[in-house]
Amino acid sequence: MDILAGLIQTAFLAGGVLALAALGEVLAERVGVVNLGVEGLIALGAMSAVATVVITPHPWLGFLVAMGVGLIAGMIFAVATVIIRANQVLCGLALTYMGMGLAATLGKPISGSPVSATFQDIHIPILSDLPFLGRAFFSHSLLVYLIFLVLPVALHILIFHTRHGLNMRAVGENPAAADAAGISVMKMRFWYVSLGSALAAGAGGYLTLVFVPSWSEGVVAGRGWIAVALVIFAGFRPINAVLAGLLFGFVTALGFVGQAHNWPIAASILSMLPYLGTMALMIVPVLAWQRMRRLMAAPDSLTVPYFRDQR
C-alpha cells in the first residue's frame, strides 16, 4: 500500500511537466498551429526558472520568469508561423534547437547545482493526514493542484462552453469561415500560440522547481516530444491531456520505484518505458478502434497557414 501511495504521489510530480506542456500544446493546436518547439521551450523555462531562483529565492518568481521567457519565445515563433506563415514543422524544429542550445549555453554556470528555493508541499488539514489518500493525493505543492485541477477545468470550459471557445475552434477547423464570420484569425492564432508556449516554458519551470530541483542540459529528456504526442492521444482535449500526462507520470514513477527496489532490470531499460509507452499509445488506439479516428480527429486546418486571398 505504501508503495502504491508513493507511486501515485510521484506520478503527479512527474506527470505535471507533461500535463502543463500538453495543455499549452492543446491551445496552439486548437487554433490550427502545431508547435514542435515544446522541447526547446521546456529547456528555456527550466533554465530561466533556476537562474531566477539563484538570484532571488522566490519559486513563484522563477515560475513567472519561465512563463515570461516562454511567452516571448512563443511570440517569435508566432510571428514566423502565423504572420509570415512559414512552415510550422521547420519553425518548430528550429525553436527546439534554439531553445535547447541557448538554455545549455546560458545555463552552463548553474548546471548541476541544487536549487535553493523550491515549491513546498502544502498541508491540508484532515485531508493530508488520511492514511493512504493523504500521501497520494493531498501532499503536493500548490502548482500540482493548479495543473491537474484548476487549469484543465478552466480550459475545458473556455474551449467547449463559451462563445470565445467556439470561435477558437472555428479558427482551427475552418479559418476561412471564421474569417467570414468576423473573427480575426491572425489575432486568435498569434495569442493562443504565444500563450501555449508560455505554458510549455512554465512546465520547464515546474520541472526544475518542483520535480528535479536542479538544472542540467539533459534534464528535459524528450518530455516536450512526449507532450506533443499526448495531445494527439488525448484528442486535443484539455482534461484528457492532463489525464494522459498523469498516466505517463505513473509510467515514469514505475521506473523510479523499480530502481529504488532493485528490480532485476537495468535503470536504462526502465527509463525507456515512457517513450515506448508513448509509441504504443500513438499506434494501438488507431489500429484498435476505427471510430477513434473520427472522435479524436485533429482540427481540420492544423499546420495549414491561412491566406485570406486563397479561400
Binding site: L36, G40, A80, I84, R85, A86, N87, V89, L90, C91, L93, A94, L95, T96, Y97, M98, G99, M100, G101, L102, A104, T105, K108, E217, A221, G222, W225, I226, V228, A229, I232, A266, S268, I269, S271, M272, Y275, L276, T278, M279, M282, I283, V286, L287, F307, D309
Partner: protein
C-alpha cells in the same frame, strides 16, 4: 507606378537559392551580434575558426571526420523528404547502426576483409529496423512519423548507454562507459580520414542519379509531391513509402557503423553527437537534393568544427545547436518570403470614393 506584393504558388529556384544563402548569412550575423554583445570579438573568433580548420592538414582531417557522419544523416533525412516523410529519427538509427556493427565486431570472429562489410550490413539493418515500426505505423495507420521516429531516438540512446556501461563494458577495467576497442576498423584513406567519407560521397552521387534518371526515382518524387496524383497514375505509393523510409534508416545506420568502426573505435553513450538532428538541417538547407547535401553537410561540418575550436572560449557544442536552430528558423521564413513577388500594378487605379 505603384507596386503590390503577389504570392506565387512556387518560387523560382534562383530566388530560393539566394534566400537560403541570405538566411545563412543572417543567422551567422545574428550569432556574431550576440557574441559581440557578450563581450567577445566575433571577427577574431571567426578568423580563428577558419584558420584552425583550413590552415593545417590536421584541421582538414578533423573536418573530414565531422563531414562524414553529417553526410550520412543529411542523406538519410533527404531521402525521406523526397517521399514526404520527416525522418526526425536519424539520431536513433545512427546509434542503432553503431550498436549493431559493434555487436558483429565483438562477437563474430573472422578476418577484417570479411568483418568490415558484414558490420556495414549489420549497421544498415540496425538503422532500418529502428525505423520499421514508425514506417509501418505511417503506412498502415497514418500515425505521424514526425513524433514516432523522434521517440525512438531516446530509446536508442538509452540502449547504447546501457550496453556500453553494462553487458558490453570494456572487460579490461580501464574504461567506465565504453566497450572494448573494436578489433577491426574501417581502413584509412587520407590521414585519419577513413573510407566512410568517400563512400558517403559516392552514395550521394548514386542517390542523385537514381532520383533524376530512374523510373523508381521519378515515382518516388511524384509520390512525395502529390501522393493522390501518383496513386491515380497507378504508382505503388505505399510500397515506395515503406522502402524509402527503410532506406533512410539504413543510410543513417551505415553512418553510425562508420562512426564507431572508423572514427571512434569503440561504442559509447552519446556517440551520435547530435549528428541526426544536425542532419535535418543539412537536408532542409539542401532542399532534399543529394548533391546539395554534399555542400550543406560540408558547411555544417565547418560550423561544428568551429564550435569545437571555440570551446576554449567558453562556447559549447550546444551553442552550435542554437546557431543551427537559428539558420533553420531563418531558412523557413526565407522559403515563404521568397514566394512573394513585387508586381507593378498596371492600368488605372480607381481613386477612393469614385465609382
Amino acid at each position: 507606378m505603384s507596386y503590390r506584393l503577389q504570392r506565387m504558388p512556387v518560387a523560382a529556384p534562383s530566388v530560393l537559392f539566394s534566400a537560403r544563402v541570405l538566411s545563412v548569412i543572417l543567422a551567422l550575423l545574428t550569432a556574431a551580434a550576440v557574441l559581440a554583445l557578450s563581450g567577445k570579438d566575433p571577427i577574431a573568433l571567426g578568423g580563428k575558426v577558419l584558420s584552425s580548420t583550413f590552415g593545417s592538414r590536421f584541421g582538414l582531417e578533423d573536418l573530414g571526420l565531422l563531414f562524414s557522419p553529417l553526410l550520412y544523416c543529411g542523406l538519410a533525412v533527404a531521402v525521406g523528404l523526397r517521399i514526404g516523410a520527416w525522418n526526425i529519427g536519424a539520431e536513433g538509427q545512427f546509434n542503432l547502426g553503431a550498436f549493431a556493427a559493434t555487436g558483429v565486431a565483438l562477437f563474430v570472429p573472422g578476418p577484417a576483409w570479411l568483418l568490415v562489410p558484414l558490420m556495414a550490413l549489420a549497421g544498415m539493418a540496425g538503422g532500418a529496423l529502428w525505423i520499421l515500426i514508425p514506417t509501418l505505423a505511417k503506412a498502415y495507420a497514418d500515425v505521424s512519423e514526425l513524433i514516432t521516429t523522434l521517440l525512438m531516438n531516446f530509446v536508442a540512446l538509452l540502449l547504447v548507454y546501457w550496453v556500453a556501461t553494462g553487458p558490453w563494458l570494456d572487460p579490461s577495467g580501464m574504461a567506465l562507459a565504453t566497450t572494448a576497442r573494436l578489433s577491426v576498423s574501417v581502413p584509412y584513406v587520407w590521414g585519419i580520414v577513413h573510407w566512410g567519407l568517400p563512400v558517403a560521397l559516392m552514395l550521394a552521387v548514386g542517390l542523385a542519379v537514381m532520383f533524376a534518371y530512374t523510373r523508381w526515382g521519378y515515382e518516388v518524387r511524384i509520390g512525395g509531391a502529390n501522393p493522390g496524383a501518383a496513386a491515380y497514375a497507378g504508382m505503388p505509393v505505399q510500397r515506395h513509402l515503406i522502402l524509402v523510409m527503410l532506406m533512410s534508416g539504413a543510410i543513417a545506420g551505415l553512418g553510425g557503423m562508420m562512426e564507431v568502426a572508423g572514427t571512434v573505435g569503440r561504442l559509447q553513450g552519446g556517440i551520435s553527437n547530435n549528428y541526426g538532428y544536425l542532419g535535418i538541417m543539412v537536408a532542409v538547407l539542401a532542399r532534399a537534393a543529394p548533391l546539395g547535401v554534399i555542400a550543406t553537410a560540408f558547411f555544417m561540418a565547418v560550423i561544428l568544427n568551429g564550435g569545437i575550436v571555440l570551446q576554449s572560449q567558453g562556447l559549447t557544442t550546444h551553442t552550435v545547436l542554437a546557431i543551427t536552430g537559428l539558420i533553420l528558423f531563418y531558412a523557413a521564413i526565407a522559403d515563404e518570403v521568397a514566394r512573394y513577388k513585387l508586381i507593378p500594378t498596371t492600368g488605372k487605379v480607381t481613386p477612393k470614393g469614385a465609382r
